[in-house]
Amino acid sequence: MSKLATLAEAVASIPSGAHVALSGFAITRCNMAFAREVIRQGIRGLTISQCVGGMDADLLVGAGAVERMIYGGGSLDRFGRLNNVNRAIESGTIIAEEYSSLSVAFRYLAGALGLPFIPIRSLRGSDILARLQQIAPENVSTVRDPFTGEEWLALRPLVPDVAVVQVQVADEEGNAWIYGPRWDNEEQVKASQRVIVITEQLVPTEIIRRDPERTIIPGFKVSHVVHLPFSAHPTSVYRVYDYDAEHIKEYAAATRTVEGFQAYLEKYVFGVQDHWEYLERVGGMRHLTTLLADPILGY
């Protein structure tokens, strides 16, 4: 069954206040076109989660779409910090449940396995835990190992309403392949109630059937498949295109101030009707083709 949808349709399926797991990691495979459309549609009050905060989260937080962020820290790598996220944490305009990468991954894993909780060695003795016990006491507790009697930190599972995942290859049912490291994406997908797949390339199911061991996202979990080239721009998609260094620098500079970020939003989000106009705004095919990945290097 085809689940092909436009980006606008897929985004419209997400109600304000939903919990959305994002597939980005710093500046790679971030849900950028998705985030821009969420902002244009005026969806608010989201809970977003990801192991390492990325540019998708920063854009959504800056635009005021987020109420709670569950993440393990994050940055734009050498291009800078998540200025919007940091500003929102400092001013208390979002609730930031800050963990470590593995503790968020374990929360997804517990959700994916249908476990009631998951014990972990991380976070113990840290101020990360002390802060979580204050702002999210419902998600951290302790449990006694029934076999040894040892006490462990226990985390509550994460079960997002929807995982939104940028992938390289998918068919119209949503069976999808992720090339390169997958960080938390498989656990996010399997923990979530449903999945929106945003793919660079759409292939016939016959192609999927030839290499089914590559399928990280099973179609039966997917509600929408959006075929949208350059949908992670300006972040990278391994083996498809590189990050757009100049654009990320522009973003990092713009987000240093609220005013700068508002101007960025006007230019690249509200000032364009859709993803296609955005791609023209950032330089069109003449520019985008310079980012295409070398097939050997993958970037």
Binding site: G74, S100, I120, R121, S122, D127, P181, D184
Partner: protein
């Protein structure tokens, strides 16, 4: 043959490499730890396994990356998987021998802060947070801290413990249920270890062209100082050549 011409950063990378033994598994972040681990692998530790938290094992990059999210640093990897695979089934499982960590601040017990500066309950500036650092600090068999030698980075107590060292010293770390702990702190002026009983930072060697006074003047606390402080072993000519010509030719990690 020891090199005459090298920078403090290059000495830090070499000192980091010397912490790695052949056959070990190292969890590495971007920057000097990458240089240190690649240098070790090309010299005395060819069977070293290098892993990145997001799911990359033993890459052989030919271009310098801007961070772990840069596909340049994944090039020619042997494994591409996930956090649960790397930080879970390798690190949490107890198989990582060494983890490299850095930070905004450290303190006399090797606790690290990468989260915020200021008052956690009042006005503060938020930075990066943990990523996999807390996980590595909690579960690696030992950790090595690489940090610039500045008084504002060596605090009596860090303002926020992102990645625990020995907490408040003594057996506080073991009591918290954590494994391992920091064994070395490498700066651009000196190398430190930790006293086995008190777990307080202890000076081990002072770099060439640096004095004990200079080392202590740029710290926010006084470390334990033995009666005789040796000079740090300088880099070899071959180590410097590898860093400059092969590992970081553009000088992005090592300035």
């Amino acid at each position: 043959m020891y090199a005459e011409d090298y920078t403090p950063s290059e000495l830090m990378a070499v000192a980091g490499a010397r912490e790695l033994k052949d056959g070990e598994i190292a969890a590495v972040g971007i920057g000097l730890p990458v240089v240190a681990s690649f240098l070790a692998k090309r010299t005395h530790a060819p069977r070293l396994t290098i892993l990145f938290e997001l799911g990359v094992v033993d890459p052989e990059p030919i271009h310098t990356g801007v961070g772990l999210a840069d596909p340049r640093v994944w090039y020619r990897a042997k494994v591409m998987s996930s956090f649960v695979d790397m930080l879970g089934m390798v690190l949490h499982r107890g198989l990582v021998d060494v983890g490299f960590l850095g930070g905004l601040e450290t303190d006399a017990y090797g606790n690290l802060n990468t989260t915020l500066l200021g008052d956690p309950h009042g006005k503060f500036t938020h930075f990066v947070g943990s990523g996999g650092a807390n996980d590595i600090a909690s579960s690696a068999k030992r950790t090595v801290i690489i940090i610039r030698h500045e008084a504002r980075k060596f605090r009596d107590l860090v303002s926020f413990i992102t990645s625990p060292g020995y907490l408040r010293g003594g057996n506080a770390r073991e009591a918290a249920g954590l494994r391992g702990g920091p064994v070395r702190v490498i700066t651009d002026k000196a190398i430190f270890g930790f006293d086995p009983q008190t777990r307080r930072m202890r000076l081990e060697s002072v770099h060439p062209h640096t004095t004990l006074e200079d080392v202590l003047a740029h710290m926010g606390f006084r470390p334990l100082v033995p009666d005789r402080v040796p000079v740090t072993e300088p880099p070899t000519v071959e180590q410097i050549r590898l860093i400059r010509e092969e590992i970081d030719p553009e000088g992005i990690y090592v300035r």
